[in-house]
Symmetry: C2
């Protein structure tokens, strides 16, 4: 078993943090997106969509998509639970994971892709779409701030995959100088707490 990883990209980081929280060690092999290594026939055979990370199982099959890879390890080793235990917990965590992904993570990524000079050669950039997403990302942090009121973590008293997705989104946003607004005190407090966990360095 191994994971095809890119230390520079935000999606692989989600899986590395998840596994660090679980205390699971998996060998990583680097595939450098900025060098175009994800577009080689070898990587396309693992994931026709040319994305990272990809988990390779011992039977030679491949699981792509960060959250699907996390699901695999959660099912193999439920403790500590990062996707919930009861039906209600599982559904609530999946709700937050998706809401954070669609409303914060994706706008942060779209702003990078559509406005950052480094992406000009890799992406059909539509500046107006990038700027709309810059606004959406800021709006989403305010939404998250309301959601974190009176809570240690996004889904309640326990750290979950939703916290991983949100932290990776905010940290990735630094590439286009995104910063948590001073008015979002709950997000600031929460980010200090999750960034101080050893897993954040994974």
């Amino acid at each position: 078993m191994k994971i095809f990883d890119d230390k520079m990209a935000p999606n692989p980081r989600r899986v590395r943090i998840f596994l660090a929280e679980k205390g699971i060690a998996v060998p990583y092999e680097q595939v450098a997106i900025m060098k175009g290594e994800h577009k080689t026939p070898a990587h396309r055979a693992r994931n026709a969509l040319e994305q990272l990370p990809v988990l390779e199982l011992d039977d030679g099959s491949h699981i792509a998509e960060s959250v699907a890879i996390c699901r695999y390890f959660e099912e193999l080793q439920p403790d500590p639970p990062l996707l919930g235990r009861t039906p209600k917990e599982k559904a609530t965590i999946e709700m937050w994971q998706r809401q954070v992904e669609f409303n914060l993570y994706m706008p942060v990524a779209q702003t990078f892709r559509h406005t950052h000079p480094a992406m000009g050669a890799l992406e059909t950039q539509i500046k107006e779409w990038g700027e709309l997403n810059r606004e959406r990302a800021t709006k989403a942090v305010h939404w998250l701030d309301a959601g974190l009121a009176g809570k240690d973590f996004i889904t309640g008293p326990h750290f979950s995959i939703a916290d991983i997705t949100a932290m990776c989104a905010i940290d990735f946003g630094r590439i286009w100088r995104f910063a948590i607004p001073d008015s979002c005190a709950n997000v600031k407090r929460w980010h200090q707490s999750v960034a101080a966990r050893p897993s954040a360095q994974a």
Copy 2:
């Protein structure tokens, strides 16, 4: 327990099909997006992001996000399994669900939002982004066609949530005259099969 639904929107349909496949009956209450009913204080209290569907539990709490609602019912009643049984099945189905959602469903929805006259009053339309997504949706159907080669359903021999997401995407695309290209024979065959299931009428 009840589900806030909109018979006209594609996301609520995903949940209705899922529950029909499970044979689970839940009362529905209509919230008409085209009449702006999702923006009322009553609905915002259920989901601050103003989206549908939303599941209301008997304790008064709310679960938003179609896939999270499906997860809740899968956990309550695993049979027939639509999210997988073993760790590998669950991860593989989640991979396909996400890939179909990001590469097909979202481009179909973005094309509608950014090019359709009916959405002009509700959305900041960026035509160039809409047209890029029109191309992406077509490209995604070809990708799906390759993925369906030699398989009855997207994730293998069994119907799963990935089939629901893909069918809802393709059917929703009709609103901007999206059609499965003749060259995508696997998708045509698969669509005929899934559209003929009684759940497709839910």
